[in-house]
């Protein structure tokens, strides 16, 4: 019985093997490679782009311009703004830019703030960008532009250039700025724009000279620039011999006598053109400025002890150590 099953098993196995190879022959051989036709694959790529929101707080120091033009430049291109718009002076500048529009490696992006008011100067904010998201920049202070005072210093007597003359800007008694004219007699001073609202702003020129310094009130009405040429010392109309007061509150009197009417109290450095001399007094003329900046000559008497002769070759104060 066992040998029958063993025989049947071997017979069936042989039959299966024969059938398999017979069918394989019938199906034919298989080509060894997959045959591609190099068709372009079908692929879809979708990008999602973000946005960059820029927030720049604006602070105003004093005056506020009515309108401001904002221009945003990117990637060191300062010719073609990527966005620009004019708006009323805001407390915060906000704008939205497309992703990739800013340089994210260097501080080559720029916001130019251009107040539409000639009293303000344009200011810029440089910043490094981001790929997308929000940037809050440090607050930017907008203040009115600097006030410029410039001019030359001359000797009034012969209109020659007077170099190295001390120039001061004072607000009441506070000295805001000090400089000196150069060898060409030129000076230039820049002071903060908010000083334009001060009522006691003035320039004082020539405090290092023996003459009375030139003092002039500074009034900026339509311009932020003032040109003041300082003519110092006696004018050409003052004929020699010239004397100069050695102290302040020197009496300039109507007559030489004691008790004569006092016309003026002269400050230190006032020049007197002397034409007559008595044992105790000098008679001469002083220049008095009247309204409109015009000078007139007035005659009078001064005690001899209050004057010393003026040497125009030695007009600088000697500072004693």
């Amino acid at each position: 019985m066992i040998s029958f099953f063993n025989y049947f098993y071997k017979f069936s196995l042989g039959l299966v093997v024969i059938l398999y190879f017979s069918c394989a022959q019938f199906r034919g051989p298989k080509y060894p490679e997959i045959i591609y036709n190099n068709k372009q694959p079908l692929i879809s790529v979708k990008y999602e782009y973000g946005e960059i929101q820029i927030i720049l707080p604006i602070q105003y120091d004093g005056d506020i311009p009515e309108n401001i033009l904002f221009k945003v430049f990117a990637k060191a291109d300062t010719m073609n703004p990527i966005i620009s718009f004019l708006q009323e002076a805001p407390s915060e500048f906000r704008t939205t830019l497309p992703q990739g529009s800013l340089d994210i490696t260097e501080k080559t992006n720029l916001i130019k703030i251009i107040p539409q008011d000639e009293n303000f100067d344009p200011v810029s904010v440089r910043f490094k960008g981001i790929g997308f998201g929000r940037i809050v920049l440090p607050p930017k202070v907008i203040r009115s532009g600097q006030l410029i005072i410039s001019g030359k210093t001359f000797l009034k007597n012969d209109a020659s250039i007077l170099p190295k003359v001390k120039v001061e800007i004072k607000d009441a008694e506070d000295v805001i700025f000090t400089t000196s004219s150069n060898d060409s007699g030129f000076y230039q001073i820049a002071i903060p724009g908010e000083s334009r609202f001060s009522e006691n702003l003035r320039i004082v020129v020539g405090e290092n000279l023996i003459f009375k310094p030139l003092t002039q009130k500074l009034i900026f009405e339509n311009s932020r620039k003032l040109k003041i040429n300082a003519l110092l010392g006696p004018s050409r109309a003052m004929r020699g011999p010239l004397y100069i007061t050695e102290k302040s509150n020197v009496h300039f009197k109507k007559g030489p006598d004691i008790g004569a009417e006092i016309l003026f109290l002269l400050n230190k450095g006032e020049v007197v053109s002397v034409d007559r001399i008595t044992p105790g007094s000098y008679h001469g003329f002083i220049e008095v400025e009247i309204s409109g900046g015009e000078n007139i000559m007035m005659e009078g008497w001064v005690n001899r002890a209050d004057l010393r002769e003026l040497n125009l070759n030695s007009i600088r104060k000697v500072i004693k150590q």
Binding site: K30, I34, I35, P41, L42, I43, Y47, E48, Q99, I130
Partner: protein
């Protein structure tokens, strides 16, 4: 000192990469195929919330029964990128003929001269050329869109 510099450079590079990375999603038809990005296996599709940096990259998709796919892509700086790949299937076909003495050429690079052969063909158009005694006697396009059997007769091809 050296370690501080190394740490600083490392931190800078890490921050730069972190800031410039883009979210990557990959879909494939069919799904559950191995996806390789620049030679690194990202796992099976669909791929979600991977990160990629802008620039040139190579995507490779492999699945048995489909033509392998290799795709070069320059990824733009963006917030996210989603890529869909449609794989082209490979069909098991049979090619038979009763003609004698013919040599068959497919796509200019595959040859056989048997009258009965099984072929694995990528779906799409293929160019069949037939030669007899080294002379071109027939040329035609065959379109594969399903597993099928072709019976070739000289100047005539008949599919089941």
């Amino acid at each position: 000192m050296y370690s501080i510099i190394k740490y600083s450079i490392g931190s800078f590079l890490y921050m730069s990469l972190a800031c410039s990375q883009i979210k990557l999603d990959i879909n494939t038809i069919p799904d559950e195929v191995d996806v390789y990005l620049d030679g690194v296996n990202l796992g099976t599709s669909p791929v979600r919330n991977e990160r990629i940096i802008p620039g040139a990259h190579i995507f490779e998709i492999k699945k048995k029964g489909y033509a392998p796919l290799k795709y070069d892509l320059i990824v733009n700086p963006s917030k996210a990128v989603e890529i869909d790949f449609f794989l082209n299937p490979v069909h098991a076909c049979k090619f038979k003929t009763k003609e004698k003495g013919l040599v068959f050429e497919l796509n200019g690079e595959h040859y056989w001269d048997t009258d009965n052969i099984r072929l694995d063909l990528e779906a799409g158009d293929h160019t069949l050329r037939v030669f007899k005694a080294s002379e071109l006697i027939d040329e035609q396009n065959i379109k594969i869109d399903k597993p099928e059997t072709f019976n070739y007769k000289e100047k005539k091809i008949i599919s089941n």
